[in-house]
Symmetry: C2
């Protein structure tokens, strides 16, 4: 599924609620989901549960992009277009 | 671009370094990028800078999925497949 299509699906499912919650509230939800992903990764015992936490993070990132008015796919491709945005190489050869 | 293809692009660009850094280190980078996105959203003045922070978050999420051995697209579709995973409706009609 295209990143853009996933974001549109999230818009269809949740935009009304996301819009009412606003940017700050939706960002806070994203932070909570990232924390839950971190807790699941620390346990490291349940792949299915970890997959669900990954799903939640990209879902809330898409919701946040919707309320912010940003096209997540375009943003991603503009910065990471088959080469490292810093060294301009693939694979990256940055020395930091 | 498909979520899967974006994840594969990130693998091509960064997997060697991501693998060496490991799951915990890569998760910490993701947290830092989410914080940077939050700071940019609080400013709310520079759409191009905000887009770049969104790009960084999805990029590091894909890197983290690579080192964890998870297919981000499959995880996303398995949980959010054109209906809310809680109420099973589209749009979501959860009452919480």
């Amino acid at each position: 599924m295209q990143i853009h299509k996933f974001q549109e699906m999230m818009r269809q499912l949740y935009f009304k609620r996301d819009f009412e919650r606003g940017i700050n509230g939706t960002f806070n939800w994203l932070v909570d989901e990232v924390e839950e992903l971190g807790e699941e990764l620390k346990k490291g015992t349940d792949k299915e549960a970890t997959e669900k936490e990954f799903a939640d993070v990209i879902a809330w990132l898409a919701s946040l992009a919707n309320v912010t008015g940003i096209d997540l796919e375009r943003a991603a491709i503009n910065k990471y277009n088959f080469k490292c945005p810093k060294c301009q190489l693939s694979p990256c050869e940055c020395t930091f």
